[in-house]
Amino acid sequence: MDFVHCTVENPQAEACATGVFIRLSAPKSMLDTEIKVTPELAAEHGLTAEEYARIQKILGRDPNFTELGIFSVMWSEHCSYKSSKVHLRRLPTRGPQVLQGPGENAGVVDIGDGLAAAFKMESHNHPSYVEPFQGAATGVGGILRDIFTMGARPIAVLDSLRFGPITSVASGAKAPEGTARSARLKSGPTSPGLTSTAANLGDSHSASFVGAGFSPSEQAAKARALAPGGVDEETIARNRRILDGVVRGIAHYGNCFGVPTVGGEVQFEPGYSANPLVNVLALGIAKKEDLFFAKARGVGNPVIYVGAKTGRDGIHGASLLASAEFTEESQQKRPNVQVGDPFMEKLLLEACLEAMRTGAVVAIQDMGAAGLTSSSCEMASRGGLGIEIELDRVPQREPGMTAYEMMLSESQERMLLVAERGREQEVLKVFAKWGLDAVEIGRVTEDGLVRVRHRQEIVAEIPAHALAEEGPVYQRPLAPPAAVANERLVEFSAAGADLTENFRVLLAAPAIASKRWIWEQYDYMVRTNTLEAPGAGDAAVVRIKGTKRALALSSDGNGRWCRLDPFLGAQLAVAEAARNVACAGARPMAATNCLNFGSPEKPEVMWQFSRAVDGIAEACTTLEIPITGGNVSFYNETLGRSIDPTPVLGVLGMIEDASRALGMAFLAEGDYVLLLDGNASEASMPENAAKEFSSSEYSRTIRGVESGAPPAVNLAAEKRLIAALAALASGGQLQSAHDISDGGLAVTLAESCFASNGFSARATVTSKGPDEAVLFGERGARAIVSVTPENVAAVRRIAAQYEVAVVEVGRVSRGEFRIELNGKAVVSAEIPSLADAWSGALERLLSRNDLRKAE
């Protein structure tokens, strides 16, 4: 029974979001309307007894089977935000620049020159595990539709990806130099309350989620075979295949559609092995007056269906009728993912924008999650009206589809629009020109009902507002996880040790290494706006043609830190994204987010969620970057184990003068290398160095220790640094800027060298802290900038105005890369050898024989 319960939990949650479906296996002869709806059937649709009673109350009768399906998707976690709503209200969403906050298909901000930027981030996690290529591809497709539904042309995409380890962490783990090597290093996470070590995964009940060709029993067997703290070779190979498929999927969809994939980030942690994260952020531009909203108007106006035909893909729920068979036929019943068609989407984009220009379109919404159901009832609900549709007119891919299937289908590349009565021909003509189906399937009504007809019968009749807005809202129980006893913290090497070799290993760690292997597979230049390509700067920068301006975008998040402290971890995500945007020379102006968590029914997960929201709220308020939209993805767990809580923040920034956009590369020999520190004092060195350092990338990679606490956050310091960077960049005083983050000062310096035209750096640092903490510590509010000798004085003066400390670190040079600490060289190596370790690491791991060989 455990197993059945688990299957209900998972697919139900993300089914409508993701298009995961298990095929209806009701008797073929039975029509939908004949399937008797009972409380048990409702429960199998994931509706609680209270929710079912609420449906009966809204309708004043029992729902029929089609209506039950409609309610179950609309009231699913993904569509209704029933567990997250009460928390999300705490986020700041207003600001003079915000034209549209949460609640529409995407958030919109004013970017001057009569233009608006629409942007939003969304997850496609489960499908990307089940079928990495199509899962990721349709993830890109979904968020692009959200953008052009607003009337905005997509101009950039970023991806935040999380995978399980693609190399054995334990192999890189070394005992600190100058101390005895520990008997056995434990690299498994020691998370409070969530300590499911790899070894005890095996005895948990069957898979709640099955992916990538592995049956539940195979997975369980695999988990059992794991050595404590280790990651077995098969899991590593599978993680590589998932990464490969996801990257190909993103490339396939984005490249063909013609939107540049300009940035993002990738991290690797064991918790994502059975639940990778694929979060896609898209940005689009529109003239302010051309913005479109999904709000039905005008009783009698025609409702037009456009785009791809409706098929049986993405239907969920009914599967649960057959849960008894699930184990026996798990291979056939394994959740499927829709197949995306970027070509169709490209046509849909051009046709929709052209149709909007006719002035005959009143409202438009894409059919993403919950397809025809959500698009019709949300448009009706927002307009305070009703919508009547006739399913016999819906273009169908296959004959014999039931009303239930059509209403719940999540076939991709479809839109629903409301046109002005009498002008429908203008709209239909545009779609005909692009060779797309466009059919009038219904009309706007005044009775406030979503009425669905099929084969001359009314198969559903539901009050739109109640369906869309009066769903359940839960204040789920919260409970902090139990503290971990006897947490092992990192041991520092003796002062003055040669740390060059550790540095080299760190540079080649997947989390730090160059992601070139990934982004070279993306067309990051199409539309010829990309001023800062992937890897060139801390944020992606795209110019806005026809203006002097450019936009900077960065997406960031650190699940490890959020596991250790969700409040601080979430704040650090906001701070880093904002800092990155500032390092590109931009003023942060707004944010979107994608909140990836485990099951909200677990009080510990809900506590993490609530704390993360609090962290984001405080950070965004202090830094004055309102949240304009986003996405919550719950139920990210497999085998009963939750992922690390992973809020990902996407921050948008404005560069008034595009020619002042900054990269991270050093530009000229002899330039000064300065550390800008918002903390304005030597206070950057944490009081409890070991505790903070134990959560660093260095600690994990070199010592195999992941514990302690995230770096302390000083939002005021972040704010000062961001303001100083934006001012210095716009004044043209900086040559380059790069924030100190993963891997600390040493990695930051090295990356500015690697990005340059063969330059190196010589740095001299003094500090009282442990050597490793100084070199590799990840405390925020700091950035490395390079400055021409004649601008140094100006930089010091301006930084002082913002109360930001300036520490001279060294000079841009040629030849040996060298860091002296307290008068002793602690890192010294030739740039080409370091660059090779860093730039070729992913390629060496991913071009092995378990993938097709890359040349």
Binding site: N255, G258, F343, W434, E520, Y522, M525, V526, T528, R543
Partner: protein, 236 residues
């Protein structure tokens, strides 16, 4: 003088070509819809990059049957100047206007990056203003750019100086490491025997402003403009 940029369903570099010619180089340029049955009034036709008709069958294989391609073929046979970039190059090969084929990249992955190509002949309208052997930096972005032809065709191409661009290192040295996709003999672009049709995988239209990494693509586009100007003078 008027340029036509063909728009197939799925073209996605059409706007970039239009922008480079119209906004950066200030030339008259218009889009040509794939269903156009004639290309009258245009002095040069550009087939842009993208995924025409989704390219699901084979790159360029469907586009070559579109109505506009019949007109382009006629235009080319009459000596009109035609430039195919990326997907445009693939379409020209499929249409038989250029020799050879473009296969899947040897690495079996899409590749997007800056590359260097050497101008192998200045005897085309698209390279007329280049220095012989000049090295140009331009980006590539394709999954199917692996040029191939049989040995007899290759010998023909060499003999007739139809190889227009070769992938090289930044200093112009021809080497395997500089070949991003496994193309035969490092071929990045070729012309027909009459030299009025050129196709290449790199994107000159993406390399017209230093802010975006390179403006070497201007050599190609300016050569085209200059050749057209000269033609106009000759015919006048």
């Amino acid at each position: 003088m008027k340029f036509g940029v063909v728009v197939f369903p799925g073209s996605n570099c059409d706007h970039d070509a239009w922008y480079a010619l119209g906004q950066v180089l200030r030339q008259p340029v218009e889009f040509l819809w794939h269903q156009s049955e004639e290309v009258k009034g245009f002095d040069a036709i550009l087939l842009p990059g993208g995924f025409s008709y989704g390219d699901y069958l084979r790159t360029g294989a469907i586009a070559r049957f579109s109505p506009v391609m019949r007109a382009v073929e006629k235009f080319a046979r009459g000596g009109g100047l035609v430039l195919g970039i990326c997907n445009g190059f693939q379409i020209l090969c499929e249409a038989g206007l250029l020799p050879g084929v473009l296969q899947r990249n040897a690495g079996l992955r899409f590749v997007c990056k800056q590359v260097h190509v050497r101008v192998e002949t200045t005897d085309t309208a698209f390279t007329a203003t280049a220095r012989p052997g000049q090295v140009l930096q331009m980006p590539i972005a394709h999954g199917d750019g692996n040029y191939f032809c049989d040995q007899a065709t290759l010998a023909d191409l060499e003999r007739n100086h139809q190889i227009v661009f070769r992938y090289t290192a930044a200093d112009g040295r021809e080497e395997a490491a500089a070949n991003p996709n496994g193309s035969l003999a490092n071929i990045a672009g070729v012309c027909n025997r009459e030299r009025n049709v050129v196709g290449l995988m790199p994107h000159p239209e993406r390399a017209v402003e230093t802010a975006l990494g390179s403006d070497d693509g201007l050599v190609v586009l300016r050569s085209l403009i200059e050749s057209l100007t000269r033609r106009a003078v000759v015919s006048a």
